[in-house]
């Protein structure tokens, strides 16, 4: 059960099957089920949960205050003005939705690639996606100034006889983000239905039985149901994969379609997607490391998971590094005076510090150290790296939005950007909202997909007539 049995230098090969061990040894169907359901079905909520929920809730209240004031006064309470008309709202929107992308990547793309190790982390990564999209979606909605008229974004017959303009990337965003939110919720819920069945059958209190019974929709584990369910899951994964790539691509179009130096570039779509996955995996680590410790899930979320996530971050980090390199290269190679000035100003102008924070957090620290397996399997170090990368990715969006805008073509219209306390309260408030939602999820829903874990256990092998397959995966 202890992860220490899997030596850092030993990839952890299961002697029985010759397969790489993703889950700690000695687990059975029942032990896994009990481990996961106990967290939710116990009548005793840990004190630490209340403490964290209290903090998260208090911080989320700050968001409520900031939003109330915003509705009363208007977006003038923020620092946005000319020339920086896009400020924190857009930065936070892009940052949050990027974080969400890792959840879809883990649940969809890694499923298609048959990466069994994802099974332990996909549920809470998907939850992370949904709560991140909730926080992300809030920002454009409040940025429109009159959120109660937000439905004007949708094409619907109205007495004004006005229809949306489908040639604008901002409208594409409406469809990309709303589709993303819907599909993520559906995928997440469908994934939980069999586990709700387990919870219904294991719950002792009447209320819990009704609650999970309704959510399970009467799931009873018929193999016919399972086969359709597997097909639907695979199809949803296949659909979510192009979706997740398209969402950040469309978001990058918000910038790339504009003619502004620093935005008008073709590298943006792939670079945004890679950055999204980079920050998303960092957020998964930020959440997974305390969770596995707090709920003693080391046998299910093993060092191998942390190690693999470190590798994904290393790979996507280098794609992001390529993006930064290309921006600088194009500023020189394009021979465009405006591009060159934008880049010089971004690096050495009055807000140049933000660029160097970004380079330090996104490139200098992670991309030099994540090569080492020793550091990748060091839990405190990976937690530290996850915070560093999340900070770095936030600054990336800050750099893209603010340092492209504040000194544009005409020196007489130059300005600066200094976020107000309302900007900060809104941003920090969404962190609280995210924390509070995530804690509710951990308390009331199964955070690790039990049915998928069961498939990976040695007991799931059909034996003894069928020989255990000796699979040798490429690499480690």
């Amino acid at each position: 059960m202890a992860t220490s049995e899997v030596k850092t230098n030993d990839p952890g090969i299961d002697p029985a099957t010759g397969e790489y061990r993703v889950i700690g040894p000695g687990q059975t169907f029942r032990s896994v089920t009990e481990k996961i359901t106990r967290i939710v079905l116990t009548p005793h909520t840990p004190l630490g949960w209340f403490a964290l929920f209290g903090v998260g809730g208090a911080v989320a209240t700050m968001l409520l205050v900031a939003l109330t004031w915003l509705v009363l006064i208007g977006t003038g309470i923020w620092a946005i003005s000319q020339p920086v008309a896009w400020g924190f709202a857009i930065i936070n929107f892009v940052w949050w939705i990027g974080i969400g992308h890792a959840g879809t990547l883990i649940s969809a793309i890694l499923l298609l690639f048959k990466q069994g190790w994802r099974n332990s982390i996909n549920r809470f990564a998907e939850a992370m996606t949904i709560f991140a999209v909730v926080c992300a979606g809030l920002f454009p909605l409040i940025h429109v100034g009159r959120p109660w008229l937000g439905y004007w974004l949708l094409p619907y017959p109205n007495t004004m006889d006005v229809w949306p303009q489908f040639r604008s990337p901002l409208l594409w965003d409406v469809f990309a983000v709303s589709t993303y939110a819907t599909i993520s919720v559906v995928f997440w819920y469908i994934g939980m239905v069999p586990d709700f069945g387990t919870m219904r059958d294991r719950a002792e209190s009447r209320i819990a039985q009704y609650f999970y019974g309704l959510l399970s929709m009467g799931w009873r584990g018929s193999v016919r149901h399972w086969m359709r369910y597997e097909t639907a899951s695979l199809l949803l994964a296949g659909l979510a994969t192009p979706l997740v790539l398209s969402v950040h691509t469309v978001i990058s179009f918000d910038f790339a379609v504009a003619v502004l130096p620093g935005w008008h570039t073709t590298i943006f779509p792939p670079y945004f997607v890679a950055g999204a996955i980079y920050s998303g995996f960092a957020m998964v680590l930020t959440l997974a490391i305390p969770l596995r410790k707090f709920y003693h899930l080391e046998a299910l979320v093993t060092e191998r998971h942390i190690d693999n996530m470190g590798k994904v971050m290393l790979a996507t980090g280098f794609i992001v590094a390529y993006g930064y390199g290309m921006e600088v290269f194009m500023a020189w190679y394009s021979a465009s005076h405006w591009e060159a000035f934008m880049m010089w100003n971004r690096m050495f102008g009055p807000m140049g510090w933000s660029y160097w924070v970004l380079i330090t957090c996104n490139l200098a620290i992670p991309l030099t150290t994540l090569w080492s397996r020793k550091l990748r399997t060091s839990i405190p170090y990976m937690f530290f790296i996850s915070i560093v990368v999340n900070t770095g990715m936030w600054f990336e969006r800050f750099v893209i939005v603010v340092t492209s805008l504040y000194r544009d073509f005409l020196p007489s219209s130059w300005g600066t950007y200094r976020a107000t306390k309302w900007d900060y309260m809104t941003y920090v408030g969404t962190l609280g909202l995210f924390t509070a939602l995530f804690l509710l999820f951990v308390r009331f829903l199964p955070m690790i997909p039990m049915s998928e874990i069961r498939m990976m256990l040695p007991g799931a092998k059909i034996g003894p007539k069928v020989k255990a397959k000796t699979v040798t995966e490429a690499g480690d």
Binding site: R167, F175, T179, M217, G221, V223, R224, Y229, L235, K465
Partner: protein
């Protein structure tokens, strides 16, 4: 449909997936058709054993996706050309490349919703009551760690006594009668 009465079927419990698959395969060979397996995780071999090979979820998903594509593209075209033509820098009203993105998103949206809800509908869910839940050992095992084979009373071969003896041949942990 009037409420059914009597026996729904006989439910045999197994400890391992291998035992279940062998039993199900044998029962299918012996001519049983109205039967089902219940497992705590997707067990493809069991589905094969009872002769369930294909399902209609992919077809539904394809149809849903194509409908979403058509719906959004036509909506965009109608709005931009007929309902509310806008002159944006002299660009054509029917600027189809710009319409691709929302149409693409709606293809995925409709396909995804069709896959999820189609799967539920084909499974006959939600169905909060099912006779199997009456079996004393079903709920403690089927969603946790036990494997069940149910031979249903609707099968012409079904006979309470004989079928019970037949199931006992597979050396299950238990065989219980399930009432409606």
């Amino acid at each position: 449909m009037p409420p059914r009465e009597g026996t729904y079927g006989l439910l045999a419990e197994f400890d391992t997936p291998g035992d279940l698959v062998r039993a199900a395969r044998q029962a299918r060979q012996d001519g049983w058709r109205r039967m089902d397996c219940y497992t705590p995780y997707p067990l493809e071999e069991a589905a094969e054993a009872i002769g369930f090979h294909r399902n209609k979820v992919p077809l539904l998903t394809l149809v849903g996706g194509l409908m979403g594509l058509a719906a959004m593209f036509l909506l965009e075209t109608w709005i931009s050309v007929v309902a509310f033509p806008l002159n944006i820098g002299g660009r054509p009203t029917y600027s189809w490349p710009a319409f691709i993105v929302p149409a693409y998103e709606w293809t995925i949206l409709w396909a995804g919703l069709s896959a999820a809800f189609g799967m539920m509908a084909l499974n006959g869910l939600p169905e909060l009551y099912h006779p199997l839940f009456n079996a004393p050992n079903f709920r403690s095992g089927a969603t946790t760690d036990k494997f069940f084979l149910c031979l249903e009373a609707l099968d012409p071969k079904f006979d309470l006594v004989e079928t019970k003896a037949y199931l006992k041949n597979f050396q299950p942990v238990s065989v219980v009668e399930v009432e409606y």
